[in-house]
Symmetry: C3
Subunit: 645 residues, 3 copies
């Protein structure tokens, strides 16, 4: 059964209220608590002088109250004395400026002496608390990459990049060939000549950029693994967790996830709506709810980021936040809705950030479950309601596989390095396809291209520019309806155009060539039957008939057996029709949901979530089924659940 929890900072509060806090957490229905991840300056106020006693007492207090503790390593916030002892440990931005102490994440992943310091503090913590029965899990660091901190242009990064290239290419001629450095006399005579791809006169070689992004991602993997290895050795049986972020693709979360037991993420639907690409119309319509696919998208994505499919929400927005351009309050009911939606997608834990709103420092305007004056905030009341709902629903079974959507972090880096049209943004492309699937009522798993695809009934590949022949083979063998989106198979591993033109290895299944591509400025469209193609369209050479043709005669959808290719940015009406056709072939039932409604099936329970401000009547749909939560008429921000009879 899904647990609830919260993020707590005993070091922020007088010790005499810890006991009461712990008691109130339990009363609210929480059973887990995350602590410690920003406390380095309190654990080690000066170099080598640890002060464990306060944390000992905090852990005891919380544990005694019956709470399970997730203990964070404090490496996201090295103290000032440490930074002053090695000032070059900070990251350097693309403009060449050091990114200084004074907030958080002021370190470069490639700085070896800082890694040694991290190993030291993690070892010390593991030594002291590894066997503590109250500790059930460890969180490594905090939100890798927050504040654009993955890619650094420091001296340390430069040297580490050279080592990474040496490992990859062995000799520099191989690198020159792979990158096509002959192009502008960019050839190197040795790896020691290579520099980070910043501050170049005009755009650097995209192959150079892509390798730098791969390198930067790998640095996160090894940084994380260093901690995990220490913790596993000294704290056996505990889960290893990291808390990922929303709409964030700067490192490969699948790679990091391979070393974790649980992938968790930090869910701030209102902030994400405000800060990302959504239209003004959407930002207003969903200002107090978040777009109905934001939370679900990440639930389904992060479920695919750990081998066992275990995942959690480590930080759940409980009210207004402080960090978006505008920070409205959620509609009454949304905190509960978000919580139950995580449950419907299979979360193990929803942990609210944070227990009590801190009255000081950067996040003083970030709501908590409690107000700064310790009264229960609206979010706290809803957490208690959600706790009761979870009890009422009880244990629910596993979910059968249905649709897999393939997601590639490398694809995101590649298209950023060379978008060819500034509106071609990979994450948006994926999200639009995901949203179309969800509007059809489908359960979706977002998985790595390397994931096992067995048992899925249908596949969606929004775009996979670097497409391996082996994946083509696997998909052929699966034989289920599969859609490949634009630019799939367009590039080699070395960021060159496929010799036989795109879609490269996919041509074995789909005999067609993309002979020309166009990016379209806003307002420029190609008319289709009931849709407009925007942003991107390809010219395809093929003997296959076109399933869909636009006004100038170009085909935009081609199919061969169960495999389809979409030669444009996906217009919503078109892509929903294509998906509907595919589900028919796959034998999957679909719905046509109204705009504000989303559903998900978990085990034998069907959930429905109303993201609108008006009530929605599902009476006809639910019919004879048994309601196990809520009503058939779902009010604004409401939830219903039922089981088929």
């Amino acid at each position: 059964m899904m647990k609830l929890g919260c993020c707590y900072y005993p070091e922020h509060w007088p010790e005499d209220i810890w006991t009461e806090d712990a008691k109130r957490m339990v009363e609210m229905g929480l059973s887990q608590v995350r602590i410690g991840e920003f406390a380095w300056s309190r654990l080690e106020p000066t170099a080598g002088h640890y002060q464990w006693e306060w944390l000992d007492r905090a852990i005891k207090t919380l544990g005694d109250a019956g709470l399970e503790i997730i203990l964070g390593t404090p490496t996201a916030t090295p103290p000032k004395w440490l930074v002053d002892s090695m000032p070059d440990m900070v990251a350097v931005d693309a403009q060449g400026n050091p990114r200084k102490f004074g907030s958080r994440r002021h370190y470069c992943f490639s700085h070896q002496p800082y890694r040694e310091q991290c190993a030291r503090i993690v070892e010390a913590m593991a030594e002291r608390y590894g066997d503590n029965p109250a500790i059930v899990a460890w969180q490594t660091d905090n939100e890798y990459g927050c504040h654009d901190t993955i890619v650094s242009y420091s001296e340390a990064a430069k040297l580490a990049f050279r080592r990474w290239l040496t490992d990859k290419y062995d000799n520099v001629d191989a690198l020159n060939t792979a990158w096509g450095n002959v192009f502008w006399s960019m050839e190197y005579r040795s790896f020691d000549e290579v520099e980070p791809p910043n501050l170049t006169v005009t755009e650097p070689n995209p192959a150079h950029v892509l390798d730098y992004r791969r390198f930067a991602s790998d640095e996160v993997v090894t940084f994380n693994k260093l901690q995990v290895d220490i913790l596993r050795a000294r704290s056996p049986g505990r889960d290893m967790i990291h808390n990922y972020m929303g709409f964030f693709t700067e490192f490969d979360h699948h790679d990091v996830g391979r070393d974790l037991d649980v992938a968790s993420w930090d869910s701030y639907p209102l902030g994400f709506l405000e800060q990302f690409w959504f239209s003004d119309e959407e930002k207003l319509r969903y200002t107090r709810q978040g777009h109905p696919d934001i939370a679900a998208f990440h639930h389904d994505l992060y479920r695919g980021c750990c081998a066992g499919g275990r995942w959690s929400v480590m930080e759940q927005q409980p009210g207004p936040v402080n960090w978006a351009r505008y920070n409205p309050a959620p509609l009454d009911g949304m905190v509960r809705l978000w919580t139950l939606e995580a449950m419907a997608h299979g979360a193990e834990l929803v942990s609210y950030f944070r227990w009590r709103q801190a009255p000081f420092a950067q996040e003083q305007m970030h709501a908590g479950l409690l107000r700064p004056d310790s009264e229960v905030a609206p979010g706290g009341h809803e957490a208690a309601l959600a706790a009761a709902d979870i009890q009422q629903l009880g244990q629910i079974g596993e979910t059968a596989k249905s649709v897999a959507l393939l997601f590639s972090y490398e694809a995101a880096w590649l298209f950023e390095a060379q978008p060819q049209g500034q509106s071609f943004r990979y994450l948006e492309l994926v999200f639009e396809m995901y949203s179309a699937l969800r509007q059809l009522g489908l359960n979706v798993d977002i998985v790595s291209p390397d994931a096992t695809l067995d048992d899925y009934k249908m596949l969606v590949v929004p775009s996979l520019p670097i497409l391996s022949a082996s994946l083509v083979d696997r998909i052929e063998q699966l034989g289920v309806p599969t859609l490949f989106g634009p630019r799939t198979g367009s590039k080699t591993m070395d960021f060159a155009i496929e010799a036989g033109l795109p879609p490269g290895p996919l041509q074995r299944l789909l005999p067609l060539k993309v002979s020309r591509v166009e990016s379209l400025r806003p307002g420029l469209t190609e008319k289709g039957a009931d849709y407009d193609v925007t942003r991107w369209i390809e010219t395809v050479e093929t003997d296959l008939p076109s399933d869909e043709v636009v006004a100038d005669g170009r085909g935009v959808v081609f199919s061969n057996g169960t495999v389809r290719y979409l030669a444009s940015w996906p217009p919503a009406p078109l892509i929903k029709r294509v998906f509907a056709d595919m589900t028919k072939e796959a034998g999957i039932d679909i719905l046509h949901l109204p705009r504000d409604l989303r559903v998900r099936q978990l085990g034998d329970v069907h959930f429905a979530f109303n993201y609108g401000t008006e009530e929605l009547d599902l009476t006809d749909h639910i019919k004879g089924d048994t309601l196990v939560l809520g009503d058939a008429v779902i009010k604004s921000a409401g939830v219903a659940a039922w089981k088929a009879d």
Copy 2:
């Protein structure tokens, strides 16, 4: 009687025209002239070698013509030889770049050796001219802060900030506690670890930022005082003046004003309209007039910046300027209107910038009273008209106190450090309330929260986030109708949320708690009776009834006796209604002015100013009163004045 003057640069012109220039000034009706403030390279062409003779002759020529001289200290433009002798004297911007020689204001306020150089040149000038009878006043430096020059991130500033913090907090633990540095392990072990709050990975601690802003403001105060002290000692009986700017809040003008005799400001209504936040509609409507409240707002603000209420316009726009994005010409009549409006608000002097348009260097496209070919420009003709009007009106008495609006520079810094919604801008909030008061025909004094409030009949506090208990006491004792705007009393001195929630100490007069706040993106509104709440709304817990309620049931105005709280950004119809109610309680008469008309009462004279392009008929209003200037039908850009019979 208000004087007229101009800014003159004898060093820019051949000496043989000085005499003629002086004669023409007097003929135009000018009696004061400001000189010298950019002339350092001519006074001291090489280190220590002064060349006073030209200035001796200039002062004599102007003085002999009967002009009173305001002599500027040249410290805003240190010469190249001086900068080269200590290159680290320049300010450093937030990106870490030195702000180099080649224009003006290329110094850091915290650089001690530069301060010594300033003291030296000021002393030398005071020594030579302190007793000169032609000198009636000194202007220190020029436009402190122009071109974003208050906050510097130099080494000098860093060291001075550490000293300032040491003085303020005495021990570093006190600082850590005050700022809440435990939050992200930001704790310091000594003051020597503290750095300026720039180039941090994400936003720095707002308490850190606020103290840095306070420090930077204090640096201006001591920099200015250094000069004032020297001048007062060597030039007794002369007024000490600085020329402030428009819409500028980077340092505390009240603090600097405590060391001055006269607060002056530089009034460029067209440039300010273009460069600041006004809507496109307003920028077009008032493109050749300026928004009708821009000049008045500053008149009323700077009158409150010197103990005695003495103030001037040191630079008055006389025609098109050079520095706005677009630089149209004023409507015929506007230069005269601006001049007489300054008079109506109580100015001692309106000094036009500049006598003659310079044909060279940065400001060659800035109009003067004369054209570059020495013909009288349109602004010069209007200055002469204004001189005649002033004579005609004669000496006018004092003005009775009416409405005080409390303005806090610290509040501006605080909301910049943590706006919580990007449209919450303090200066706009204040201006909107001020404009509403002015549209009701009220005389307004904009004063410091520390000002004596005796004799005011009504108080408006647009927002005062750091609210002292003593001010609450004083306001209670005054017992006049008082409005407090949103976020008043929301923060402690240390930039933390008030323990008992906002409005903190105000709860003694108004028993309510702000339990939650929301910032609203453009387009998101809460509907009220005849208004829309935009930008900001608060959720209030209280037993008080709501005077105004929006559609979702939340109250936005609460009152208790004479004290009111506004829990949202002020919608114009609502705030005008609230002010009207308050004036009724206060026994003050109001008008409902058309959009382009503004009035002010000075002594027994009522002035009216037509900022529109159509004539306005005031016949019914003036009725039996005696016109002392202009006609009852005021033409575009026209002025009328009358006395009640």
Copy 3:
């Protein structure tokens, strides 16, 4: 007869396909090929070790196929080993950052040791290939200034600037006077105190900026001349060419052109439309054609950049490019149209960029005549069609002179240094006047103010702020209808306002004074008869009658004999009427072309180009003339040509 060619990079392709490539070029109708300009790292892989053999073979292969070779010097892409040997050779941007290796153009024009390296490699190439009969021309470097590389703020540039100033002013007092440095105590005691005008606190002295721009331009001239002198000495009889860019004014192309035999340019109509100032409406209407005046404007401009009027298109867009924000494909027919339009304007060569699309590195998404898989791309097919058309048309004679439009690079720099209104952009001003002339069907020559103006029937001077008395004399002597646009004659050589006010020396022909100027924000207009004045309007003092008056009574067109002055930004209806009046006086026939049609006369051949998406019927216009190409009904992207009988 105009030749066709292409840009080819043998070093990008396996040697075994060179012969086939050369053969296919000839078959497609190409006769010239440009090679070598980015090949430094292959010609000299390590310092001083040349590898000529591959280039020997490439030249032999191409030459043997009958192709004429234009050989580029590789100085735009110095290899890494060279940069590492003198890291200070790179340019420094305005923010003070070095502009590093990793793309191209990573050098500072003022770096003397780099110049020596350039001389060395150019000498070595000239030595080896100077007499090679296959080499018919040399291209120096590549696209001077691309990626904003003219102005550098490096130490090398600083020192060179000081030398340049010393040469120009001889003594520093002259400089101080010329710039008006007294203004803000900006006076220097020696040239060694002068710095580049970047990182100043607010805007630097515009006279300082203008001299820095003149200096930077002169550096390009001497950099180019260094190569030309070497090549002329060692490769007699070959043409010296540089390939200029589109809409680029950072250096004086007339000055550089004085050392060349042929001015060539790189024509990318779709990319230029997208990246420059055109309205959204124009960007959508012409998204696959380019604005109808973009290519022609540059043809007519660059024809004026070499003494003999010889010019070429060195790089012609053959399909979608990679570098604009959005990169659509040209309409079918546009590549042919652009080619024939260059012919109609008198080009010697149109060379397509590039032969085959490279599958790797920065420009992998840039189309070629061949696709990456070596199939002929649409652009290749159209090149072959154009080759046939050229054959069909045969040799065509010279064109009689008609309208000269005076273009000044210095004017562009001056208005950038001090626009006075941010919408006053010189290149747009010129383009709008040029477009108006073209819409009247006129042949236009865009020429330097220093050009011989004999035989022109009409002159247009969009604006010439620095107007020499001698040019005024020459124009008086010509006695043909001449229009001077706003701000003409407004500044001295030293960037000061003319003593007798603008238009300065022009007052001899047109007795008027510009007494005041206004820049107008978007939306602010002055109404004229059938037009709105936007952006800029002047107030003119004169006894001349006004030919055109706006609503507030100000005249905007004044004439005296054959000379006219336009006192505002040119509204299209007004300027077309003025030009029509002038052609009448000049005895030139005009047309009133529909929006998408352009015509040009070359010798006795009249060409017409349809830039629209609908067909245009010219039957009535062509009447009894003899069609020599195409039909009287010109289809979208079509061309027609006819001769008068």
